[in-house]
């Protein structure tokens, strides 16, 4: 991992009150890539969806730990969000827009669709009974100050 510019890890209890904390923390970490406001909003929304899934579907509102790992490799932000919950039986079905296992609670079934559209790449790994890991990647377009920002980030080490 020669090109690893930065990395952080975050663990928290599966409470939906931690969603805001999770997306704000990831956004703060991503800020060093000098994203636009739109890119930052995309990242926050995608993180919020993945964390909601871990809490609502993974742990079904029981207590568990949600883990987030963020890496910056060159201009790419890589976000891994994982749980040790019940896992997804059929990933292809879960990814379908409007598909939800909990329609009675007004879940829109748009979580994975939002993650797919707001990030460049998404990969879902899941083992039933073991848990789920969602990996999302987004390249932050080269804004004029990106180089400066990266230099700044390393210069204060």
């Amino acid at each position: 991992m020669n090109n690893l510019n930065n990395e952080m890890k975050l663990e928290f209890l599966s409470k939906s009150s931690n969603e805001a904390f999770a997306r704000i923390t990831v956004a703060a970490f991503a800020a060093q890539l000098d994203p636009t406001i739109e890119e930052l909003a995309d990242i926050k929304t995608a993180v919020s969806e993945a964390v909601t899934n871990a809490i609502i579907h993974g742990y079904e509102e029981k207590k568990g730990i949600v883990k987030i790992r963020c890496q910056i490799i060159n201009e790419e932000l890589i976000i891994e969000i994982s749980d040790n919950g019940q896992g997804i039986e059929n990933i292809e079905l879960a990814k379908q827009p409007l598909y939800t296992t909990k329609p009675n609670l007004e879940r829109s079934g748009m979580g994975f669709t939002i993650m797919e559209s707001f990030m460049d790449e998404i990969e879902i790994e899941s083992i039933v009974g073991m848990g789920t890991k969602v990996t999302m990647k987004k390249t932050i377009k080269n804004n004029s100050e990106t180089e400066d920002a990266l230099q700044f980030a390393t210069s204060c080490d």
């Binding site: 939906s16 739109e38 979580g111």
Partner: protein, 108 residues
């Protein structure tokens, strides 16, 4: 969430005042349903002016209120959304049935 009802126009304005996600949506839903069932408005406008963040929990919130308002003979519109919230709404197809409207600060 703050609400204001205009009797003459049978208009209910629900002003959302927080970030909308899985955590906050339940309380908003309860309060919105209470207000809609109480006034049976002809039109409900969700004012997003103070909302800086919304994920897919907001989609369910709006569709659910749209169903209830419709059942009671009313419509639902949305006002003052940011570009990023609009993006979430567009992706969900919600804008095919729900209009984004202009809403100025109302007096009284």
């Amino acid at each position: 969430m703050e609400s204001k009802y205009y009797n003459e126009e049978k208009l209910l304005i629900l002003k959302l005042t927080e970030e909308i996600d899985e955590c906050t949506v339940q309380k908003i839903r309860r309060k919105a349903d209470y207000e809609i069932e109480r006034y049976m408005p002809r039109k409900v406008i969700f004012d997003f002016n103070s909302v800086t963040f919304m994920d897919s929990a907001g989609i369910g919130l709006i569709i659910g209120r749209y169903r209830i308002a419709n059942m009671l003979g009313g419509t639902v519109e949305i006002a003052n959304v940011t570009d990023s919230i609009k993006k979430v709404l567009e992706l969900s197809g919600l804008l095919k049935i729900i209009k984004i409207t202009e809403l100025e600060e109302m007096a009284g």
